[in-house]
């Protein structure tokens, strides 16, 4: 039934099936906490931790989870790890924890995590589930860093709070406001759609050239 190799499980989530940019899952944190690279990093790290742990746990316990209540069981598993991550962050990075606020707890309802449990971890062995979770987590991190970098550079003229353009830079206030999140996501999706479109057009031309030869 399974047709993918372990390496495919890992690679897939990073770019080709990127959870945010292709599957459009986990948009809430992607829009809400990417106003600076630092917040994006903290959010990615927490999500990465949660998705890896819960994928492994769900996959190892899949025989004990009754099919009828599986979603609630996944949520329970995820919530456990979110609470852990929440407390860890509060203990070791209280400032960052304050910045993320409610979005830390909202990782529980991140569809990307739940989606991986339902679509992959509940059907595969723990090792593969871990690979899949790591790949998806990296994909999520890439997407958040892209958005956070774009927004922080335009919105404050800095990257990781290191000023890039000197004190005279005029910040685009809109980019650190919520509207900037939507704009940035739109820009990135536009660019990706355009690249895809170009790629397809090139393939068609190449094929035509081949048949003509």
């Amino acid at each position: 039934m399974r047709t993918t190799t372990p390496s495919q499980d890992f690679i897939r989530g990073i770019w080709d099936e990127n959870p945010v940019l292709v599957q459009m899952l986990g948009l809430c944190p992607a829009l809400a906490v990417t106003n600076s690279v630092k917040n994006a990093l903290a959010m990615s790290a927490a999500t990465f931790f949660v998705i890896c742990c819960s994928s492994v746990l769900v996959s190892s316990c899949k025989r004990f989870i009754p099919n009828e209540v599986r979603i609630s069981a996944y949520i329970l598993v995820i919530a456990t790890f979110v609470t852990l991550a929440d407390m860890l962050l509060q203990a070791y990075a209280p400032v960052q924890h304050k910045e993320l606020g409610a979005f830390m707890a909202l990782i529980v309802v991140n569809c990307m995590i739940l989606g991986r449990q339902e679509a992959f971890a509940s059907k595969n062995n723990p090792f593969r589930s871990l690979l899949d979770a790591v790949g998806t987590g990296i994909g999520f991190t890439i997407a958040l860093l892209m958005m956070g970098g774009f927004r922080e550079i335009l919105g404050t003229g800095a990257f990781l709070e290191y000023s890039l353009f000197g004190p005279n830079f005029e910040p685009w206030v809109i980019m650190v406001l919520p509207a900037g999140g939507f704009l940035t996501l739109g820009f990135i999706l536009l660019a990706m759609g355009y690249a895809e479109h170009r790629k397809k057009a090139n393939e068609i031309v190449n094929e035509q050239v081949k048949t003509a030869l």
Binding site: N168, V173, I174, L177
Partner: protein
């Protein structure tokens, strides 16, 4: 589109000399007095800001416009001029250029070009600038001594803040709302345009002339500006007599972007309702929202947001004001639902 030379359509066949190109260019012509006045009042700064904004629009249309020849129909030109006229004279040129490009790309081209857009592209550009650079867009320079001095740091380097400190002055609206000793600017000054403000919004007289010319040519639906004025006058009159607001009704009509917005932005053929009844609803909504935003909003001016909000409602207004189909029974709706 078929390639056939002969186009066969159902009757009735109406011949008209109007085309998109003619309408667009007569709008440009009607703007000439307003532009001339802005140059007279604000000097070379006005020319630079307008040029930057027009350049941004034309370039965006040229690069991303989907239909060939869409540059020649003049709609990009109008968007550029209108956006430029809503900006303060000391505005950095790179911001004007950026806003124009944004307005064109995300207000118009992304929806499929002229005729497909939901929002007025010039106002989308301005709303973006308002959100991105709130300080620069609300800095109105004081009158300079000589006509030829720049009104601010127009030539700030791209992505850099304006550095030259120009003396600033409040607009009539800002003065009345936030000033230390609020004064109602004399109506004659507002009417003639000898006040501070954005490039094209100062002289109510010239905008009125341009608007009447367009209405006479049939290029704008006079129901829209009239309904905006009626509702703004009535609502602000009510609040003024009740003692809730400090804006006298006539002041409300003549100050800020009201005139320019009512005649040139709200009447955009693409983003206004189809039926006259719909236009009245649309205009009433704008007038009401302008007054509400001006009295209770965080900014002194509300015309832009009022028009954009009502733009979003246009499809619903169109649906609600669909003319009755004659010759059908009243039960058509039920049949549709099934």
């Amino acid at each position: 589109m078929t390639d056939s030379i002969v186009k066969i359509t159902a009757s009735p066949h109406v011949r008209s000399a109007d085309s998109t190109i003619r309408i667009m260019w007569s709008v440009v012509i009607s703007l000439v007095p307003v532009i001339a006045a802005s140059i007279y009042f604000f000097g070379p700064s006005a020319i630079f800001v307008l040029l930057a904004s027009v350049a941004g629009c034309l370039l965006t249309e040229r690069l991303f416009g989907s239909t060939p020849g869409s540059l020649a129909d003049g709609s990009a030109m109008i968007t550029g001029l209108l956006l430029g006229l809503t900006l303060p004279p000391g505005f950095p040129l790179w911001m004007a250029f950026l806003g124009a490009g944004f307005g064109m790309a995300f207000g118009k081209i992304i929806f499929g070009g002229l005729g497909q857009n939901i929002f007025n592209p010039a106002l989308v550009g301005r709303a973006f600038l308002q959100a991105a650079f709130p300080v620069a867009i609300t800095t109105w320079p004081a009158k300079t001594q000589h006509w030829w001095t720049l009104q601010g740091d127009n030539f700030a380097l791209p992505f850099m803040s304006p550095v030259v400190d120009a003396a600033t002055a409040a607009t009539p609206l800002g003065n009345l709302k936030f000033g230390d000793d609020p004064v109602v600017t004399p109506l004659l000054d507002l009417f003639m345009g000898t006040t501070g403000g954005s490039l094209g919004e100062t002289s109510a007289l010239l905008i009125l002339l341009g608007g009447l010319y367009l209405a006479w040519r049939g290029h704008l639906n006079w129901h829209i500006p009239l309904s905006i004025f009626v509702s703004a006058f009535a609502v602000s009159g009510l609040f003024y007599t009740l003692g809730i607001s400090q804006f006298p009704p006539m002041f409300m009509l003549l100050s800020g972007g009201m005139m320019l917005g009512a005649f040139y932005m709200a009447t955009d053929m693409v983003t206004s309702p189809i039926t006259n009844k719909g236009c009245w609803l649309f205009g009433f909504g704008i007038g009401f929202l302008v007054v509400v935003i001006r009295i209770w909003g965080g900014l002194p001016e509300g015309v832009m947001y009022a028009i954009l909000l009502m733009n979003a409602l246009v499809p619903f207004i169109n649906r609600a004001t669909q003319p009755r189909l004659f010759g059908t029974s009243g039960k058509k709706k039920e049949a549709d639902n099934e």
